[in-house]
């Protein structure tokens, strides 16, 4: 594989892979927050 095809392939897959993985993490974190919300009693003190 030539250096340029190596570099460009790694850049395309690397950048999109990093964005995709972090995008998936965002969704999973939001889901986890919905499944395990902060208890009402603690929401009051957190908002103060």
């Amino acid at each position: 594989m030539s250096d340029w095809s190596f570099g460009i392939s790694l850049t395309i897959v690397g950048v999109s892979g990093t964005f995709l993985t972090l995008g998936i993490l965002i969704v999973v974190i939001e889901l986890t927050k919905k499944i395990f919300p902060l208890p009402e009693s603690k929401k009051d003190s957190a908002g103060r």
């Binding site: 594989m1 250096d3 340029w4 190596f6 570099g7 460009i8 392939s9 790694l10 850049t11 897959v13 690397g14 950048v15 892979g17 990093t18 964005f19 995709l20 993985t21 972090l22 995008g23 998936i24 993490l25 965002i26 999973v28 974190i29 939001e30 986890t32 927050k33 395990f36 919300p37 902060l38 208890p39 603690k42 929401k43 957190a46 908002g47």
Partner: protein
């Protein structure tokens, strides 16, 4: 007997003779070691790393000491901790135990800044290839753009161990220069209006269950996508799980103090040990330092540009400056963003948002390295 005495005396002067005859590279590196010690002691630039690196550099450049030969002290640290990749991983456990991912969990979307802040890795990889570096060397040089010392050491020790000295010194030096490198770029790429954008204060908080599940979920999810990077992500998340669970205070304390301190000392000495004059002083070392500087600058450029895109997409609700915090230099990059924000509007408080982006940068840098390693494995190159 006289011959024995003369032979003995010549043994005592052998080091000095070596320096005088063929020791110019060692003399230069003794000076470089001195500069690193000066930066650590007088300027307090990353002293925990630069002091042992500087002293390791001094040790290995005293001729005929054989410290990096088989059986030598520095060689032992190198073989035990760097060849095996254990030192950077143990440091990651400590980093995980020290990091509060709370700001990131409160506003997870900010994690994307941690991806944008890694673009410098890939741009530098292409530049290194253009300059003629072999493919795996170029990968390791690009990794300087992760702004993450342990990640750079982990990847370089596996795939380009001959570059370990320059890559790790460049990574740690430029990380410490973030407050100097970033502000001019941030100013050049943003308008006055963008810089003075105030961001709403997030009042949402997260439950303890979410905080505990976060490291477990991240480990499994990222491990499934990029298994070659699991040691990196797994150790940082192990440290964070210990911290958030609250049930192993002794282990958490040991990870962020005793273990991290001892490993940092041995790691620094071992890296310094790779800086022997005859092997370190090459034109490629200077190129690596130049490319490392570019890598971190390009990270900032990409982060701020991504911030500008988010500024437009959100109708001016996100200050583009926080894009500069999407790198792994934690918490330094977040503090830089806060300082720059207040430079243009004294009542602008960007710190919590920048902290979120900065912890996102920590995950992003590890993730970028993990993705790269898994892609290289897929290509059959490692």
């Amino acid at each position: 007997m006289l011959e024995s005495i003369i032979a003995g005396i010549s043994g005592l002067g052998a080091g000095t003779m070596y320096l005088a005859t063929k020791g110019l590279p060692n003399i230069i590196m003794l000076f470089v070691g001195g500069v690193l010690l000066y930066l650590a002691i007088k300027r307090e630039i990353e002293p925990l790393l630069l002091l042992p690196i500087g002293f390791g550099c001094v040790l290995v450049n005293v001729p005929l000491s054989d410290l990096m030969e088989q059986g030598g002290m520095l060689r032992f640290f190198y073989d035990v901790g760097i060849i095996t990749e254990i030192f950077p991983l143990l440091i990651f456990v400590g980093i995980g135990a020290m990091t509060d991912f709370g700001p990131l969990l409160e506003n997870p979307k900010i994690l994307l800044f941690g991806a944008a802040g890694q673009l410098g890795i890939f741009c530098t990889l292409l530049l290194a290839l253009a300059l003629g570096f072999p493919q795996l060397d170029a990968v390791c040089i690009g990794i300087i753009g992760a702004c993450d010392g342990p990640t750079a050491i982990y990847v370089t020790s596996q795939y380009a161990p001959h570059l370990l000295g320059p890559v790790s010194v460049a990574a740690y030096s430029y990380m410490s220069l973030v407050p100097i490198i970033q502000p001019p770029i941030m100013k050049a790429l943003t308008t006055e209006k963008e810089r003075t954008t105030r961001m709403a204060i997030t009042k949402e908080s997260v439950s303890k269950n979410t905080r505990i599940l976060f490291p477990i979920i991240v480990t499994i999810a990222t491990g499934l996508i990029a298994p070659k990077g699991l040691p990196l992500m797994g150790t940082i998340m192990l440290g964070n799980l210990m911290k958030e669970s609250g049930v192993v205070a002794r282990l958490t304390g040991a990870s962020e103090n005793e273990i991290a301190n001892i490993v940092t000392l041995f790691l620094g000495l071992a890296i310094g040990g790779t800086m022997e004059g005859h092997t370190f002083l090459k034109s490629e070392t200077l190129l690596i330092f130049g490319l490392g500087f570019l890598a971190i600058s390009l990270d900032t450029v990409a982060g701020v540009f991504f911030g500008k895109i988010m500024y437009r997409l959100t109708g001016g609700k996100i200050n583009p400056l926080i894009g500069a915090a999407g790198i792994s230099a934690y918490p330094m990059a977040a503090r830089v963003v806060q300082a720059q924000g207040q430079r243009y509007d004294k009542k602008n408080f960007l710190l919590m948002h920048a902290m979120g982006a900065n912890t996102g940068g920590q995950i992003g840098s590890v993730m970028a390295a993990a993705v790269m390693l898994s892609v290289l494995k897929g290509m059959g190159l490692i």
